[in-house]
């Protein structure tokens, strides 16, 4: 049986310029197979936990050998026709420098169908259908949809600093420079493909702090955190978006500053937020290389902080479906997630064990209870923890 695969040579591919060439290669292979009346098969990396590997030297989850094969048959001919149809639209965008969201692409596809009756069978009933075709193409090419100029409206990642300067080259070649110290109380927000940005520091930056709650990050800045410390402060806004993940990776690689994560002490934060930021996710195996910051450390809230600062904590509600699910997921993670099984991550694993055993949780804002009349107390604790190396 003939094999057509973009395959491993695209792993971690960053060069958008390669895509038209690779597209032609894949299409050529498909065409040759068809000419020989051979059934072409397209292989895509299987993006799931059972195909995830973790090596602390690499630092993020990487895909194994498992592939999802899509063989051309009567059942898949519609999917493949749609993929080739969409590929043409995406290649046109690369060629012209056009940029679109998934929803816009859905309407562009509908427009093409509207103006060409032969394409009518391809029509998309809803955006889910066109989204799945875009995802299929990305899996096939092992690339990010951003490589095809398909951008999401990324949320989170509001960044404050008195010393960070961002340099951007626009698609038309024009250059832009953003000095974060000049933005006042307005944060800088990374968008689209932050990996393309260039960073510099006006003065040596000591650390970058990623705070789970954007509100708390804003409070710290308003109270003068970035004025008192040569730092970068980022509000993650819950589960980090692609932009936040790519941005943190950029800070880590270009500025070589230590990165700390400060968030709630609960199973959800450990697995869904911190793990994703540090090592990526199973769903994005093919892009974790650019969308994870392996050097980020977990600053807290740590279980010992509860005792040390007498933080108010509370029991996991047994009747709260979300909390119970998070605990169950934590149990599974300890068994099956290669990130938590790695000895290098023993500290994080122990926190998970502690959470499962004690069934208690503590929020990041609990630091405001230590001295309710001192608005700077949370900042003092954070800085003290960093200084003393009280993180994992």
């Amino acid at each position: 049986m003939a094999k057509s695969t973009a395959g491993s040579n695209r792993q971690g591919g960053k060069n958008q310029g390669d895509l038209p060439k690779f597209s032609r290669e894949i299409c050529e292979r498909l065409l040759v197979d068809l000419e020989k009346a051979k059934r072409p098969i397209l292989y895509a990396t299987k993006c799931s936990l059972d195909n995830s590997f973790y090596n602390h030297k690499v630092g993020y989850l990487t895909p194994g050998e498992k592939k999802v094969a899509t063989e051309l048959n009567v059942s898949s001919v519609k999917k493949m026709s749609r993929a080739i149809f969409f590929l043409e639209i995406l290649l046109r965008n690369i060629e012209t420098g056009g940029v679109n969201t998934k929803r816009e692409l859905y309407y562009i596809a509908k427009g093409e169908v509207k103006h060409n009756s032969i394409l009518k069978p391809l029509d998309f009933a809803d955006q889910d259908e066109s989204d799945s075709v875009i995802d299929f193409i990305c899996e096939l090419f092992e690339c990010y949809r951003e490589d095809f100029n398909c951008y999401a409206n990324d949320r989170g990642g509001q960044t404050y600093s008195q010393h960070l300067v961002v340099h951007e080259t626009m698609p038309d070649g024009e250059k832009a420079t953003v000095d974060l110290s000049k933005l006042g109380t307005t944060p800088f927000q990374p968008k689209n493909r932050p990996q393309n940005l260039k960073l510099s520091a006006k003065k040596k930056i000591d650390f970058a702090l990623v705070v789970e709650s954007e509100g708390t990050a804003n409070t710290l800045v308003a109270n003068g955190f970035t004025k008192r410390h040569n730092s970068i402060l980022i509000g993650a806004g819950g589960v980090p978006s692609n932009a936040v993940r790519g941005w943190c990776k950029l800070l880590q690689d270009q500025l070589r500053v230590p990165l700390y994560f400060f968030g709630d002490l609960d199973a959800y934060t450990m697995q869904n937020i911190y793990r994703t930021l540090k090592a990526g996710s199973a769903a994005s195996l093919i892009r974790n290389q650019d969308y994870s910051a392996p050097e980020v450390r977990f600053l807290g809230v740590l279980p010992e902080d509860i005792k040390k600062y007498q933080l108010p904590d509370y029991a996991v509600k047994e009747n709260d479906a979300q909390e119970v699910r998070a605990l169950k997921k934590a149990q599974d993670a300890l068994k099956n997630d290669p990130f938590f099984q790695d000895k290098k991550n023993k500290g994080v694993t122990e926190v998970l064990h502690w959470l499962l055993k004690n069934k208690r949780r503590c929020e990041q804002q609990a630091f405001f209870s230590v001295d309710p009349r001192d608005p700077l107390m949370p900042e003092k604790i954070i800085v003290e923890k960093i200084k003393r190396g009280n993180y994992i």
Partner: protein, 614 residues
């Protein structure tokens, strides 16, 4: 105690007619719509019962017509006329039949006749009299009469007697038969569950031997009330259903009151003889057991009218404790799968159907026979999200009200129809353009109310109906599966035709390939996908083969009549399944639909060998 002047008011007795005239809602006259339906139903039931009693193939013509406004607020004046070819009624009996309550030839006879007590038609006469001051206009002629008797029967409500006014003899161009006409207040509802058409369809379905002509208004609006349309449904069975002999009641199926009432039919007969002759499954051995249980021998020598209530009670209690054989199932009437299969096609064009007649069995100590017919109607093709249409029958009489509490509906809801390819919300009726007809026949059907609208849902009866439905569902699923395969094949072919060119052209544009490569790739693609279509074709053939071999999988309890043979029909109609599907992919008409259409035009029933030879 001092008597209050009011309390000392005379205690009077009322006649049966008086009771029913005040309580007509109990016997089906509780609404305007029901009044029309009940009147029609009673007249048709009587006609059918009379024909069957006298071995006459029934041919009935009926008219339901709006004549203007009724006397009751918001009602219409409705004329209902039913004309049959039955044996006719002797002139002297006409007032009894139409004007006297509880004057019945069928009361307590343990037969599966439609009517039982002799209430319904007299109630209709009463309703006509109360709302339009005129009774039932009757014309009747027996074979022996040279001229027909005509007159208007009215109920003498005070004395429960029927009086015939304007009696005359007239020439009538029929050898025998009866015509009865009521003018009542009511409202005509044609469609819906409580509609006249539903009733007529049901009656047609369970009476394959009936030829029915019905004249109904074409619309129910102000204007449409007058235009009438005549429809004829020909009989599909030329034999009358075998009416089983009446059986005596079984003592275990009676209540004490019924037991005592039963004795009144025997008068001066000795108790021993009464028990042995008047009941089924009671013999000399039973008498001995009763003696052993403590009944004095002398009691059996007394005449039944000499027994006092205490003695009756003692006898009744003891006999309940003696194990008796279950009642015979011979008294149960069957429509039969063959007749049902033919009859269901009179309801409209059907895609396919399945029918099951279970062997009579005992439920709640009463003989019961359950039959089920399920059909998919073409005209309801678009209603895949609506619940199926349920037709319920008790002793071949359609039941149209109070559906939820009925044993039949409860049984349908407990079957997992999803297993047979039908949609079904949890614990509800299945969905789709189907008719599910369930007929329960028993000489002792337990209704929930006097107007015979709902069969009481006992556990045993629900289970028996459920089993029948499951068998019918299994048969049906073979058609649905085959249809699924046919659709699958058709869809695959459609996919090849639609997506093949798009894929190849897209690839050629990206690779900038020329026309010769495009053609070569197109040919290659068609070859690859053609193999898939061949595989689907094989799957369809397998499904067809399975359908053809359906007989072997039918339960032993089921008679070996098979439902319509789709393939054979397709063949007969000159439709090649494979070609049809390919061709239809272009014409956008599905192959199964074409086959089904052919099936509807030319139904072919595979009969058991015996019947076919007969």
């Amino acid at each position: 105690m001092a008597k209050d002047s009011k309390a000392s008011a005379k205690i009077t007795t009322s006649s049966t007619a008086e009771y029913f005239s005040k309580n007509l809602q109990q016997v089906g006259f509780s609404s305007q719509v029901k009044a029309v339906l009940t009147t029609l139903k009673e007249a048709v039931d009587n006609a059918l019962d009379a024909c069957e009693e006298h071995n006459i193939l029934p041919e009935i013509e009926l008219w339901v017509e709006k004549m203007g406004s009724g006397t009751l607020k918001g009602s219409d004046k409705i004329r209902i006329k039913v004309l049959d070819n039955g044996p006719g009624i002797d002139g002297d009996d006409i007032p009894k039949v139409f004007g006297e309550y509880l004057a019945s030839s069928k009361f307590g006879r343990g037969r599966c006749s439609r009517g039982q007590q002799g209430i319904g038609i007299s109630a209709a006469t009463t309703w006509a009299q109360l709302t339009n001051a005129t009774g039932a206009k009757v014309i009747s002629k027996t074979k022996a009469m040279r001229k027909a008797v005509s007159g208007t029967v009215e109920v003498d409500i005070k004395n429960n007697r029927g009086n015939m006014k304007d009696r005359e003899t007239i020439d009538w161009d029929r050898p025998h038969g009866t015509s009865v006409e009521f003018t009542i207040d009511g409202r005509i509802q044609l469609n819906g569950e409580a509609g006249l058409l539903n009733y007529l369809n049901g009656t047609v379905l369970v009476n394959p031997h009936l030829t029915l002509h019905y004249n109904l208004p074409t619309g129910t609006g102000e204007e449409g009330g007058k235009a009438m349309e005549r429809t004829t449904v020909e009989r599909v069975a030329s034999e009358l259903p075998q009416i089983p002999e009446a059986t005596e009641p079984h003592p275990h199926t009676m209540k004490l009151g019924e037991f005592i009432a039963h004795s009144h039919l025997f008068g001066r007969t000795k108790v021993g003889a009464w028990l042995k002759k008047g009941f089924s499954r009671v013999n000399e051995g039973t008498i001995k057991e009763l003696v052993a249980a403590g009944i004095k021998k002398g009691v059996f020598e007394k005449n039944v009218d000499q027994l006092d209530d205490a003695e009756f009670k003692d006898l009744y209690t003891k006999i309940q404790n003696i194990p008796l054989m279950a009642p015979s199932t011979k008294s149960v009437l069957m429509i039969g799968e063959e007749a049902l299969a033919k009859s269901i096609q009179r309801l409209g064009a059907v895609d396919f159907f399945s029918v099951v007649s279970r062997k009579p069995t005992i439920c709640d100590f009463k003989p019961v026979e359950v039959e089920v017919a399920i059909a998919r109607l073409q005209e309801r093709g678009g209603e895949s999200d609506n619940p199926v249409q349920v037709l319920r029958f008790a002793n071949r009489v359609p039941l149209q009200f109070d559906k939820a509490a009925c044993a039949i509906v409860q049984a349908i809801q407990t079957v997992n129809w999803r297993a047979y390819g039908l949609g079904q919300p949890k614990e509800s009726l299945p969905l789709g353009p189907y008719i599910v007809a369930v007929s329960v026949v028993s000489p002792f059907i337990k209704f929930k109310n006097a107007s015979k609208e709902t069969v009481d849902a006992s556990e045993e009866l629900v289970e028996e109906i459920r089993r029948t439905l499951i068998q019918a569902g299994q048969r049906l699923s073979k058609y649905i599966k085959k249809e699924f395969r046919a659709n699958e094949l058709e869809e695959k072919r459609r996919y090849i035709e639609q997506f093949g060119p798009i894929l190849v052209e897209g690839l050629c544009r990206i690779t900038k390939a020329g026309d010769s490569r495009k053609k070569k790739a197109s040919d290659g693609l068609m070859k690859i996908l053609g193999r898939d279509a061949d595989a689907a074709e094989t799957a369809l053939e397998l499904a067809q083969a399975k359908l053809g071999g359906g007989k072997s999988s039918a339960s032993a309890e089921v008679s070996d009549t098979d439902p319509i043979d789709v393939e054979a029909v397709a063949e007969d109609a000159g439709v090649d399944l494979k070609r049809a599907s390919k061709k239809d992919a272009k014409s956008k008409k599905t192959a199964p639909a074409k086959v089904a259409a052919a099936a509807a035009k030319k139904p072919k029933i595979i009969l058991p060998k015996k019947s076919a030879e007969a």
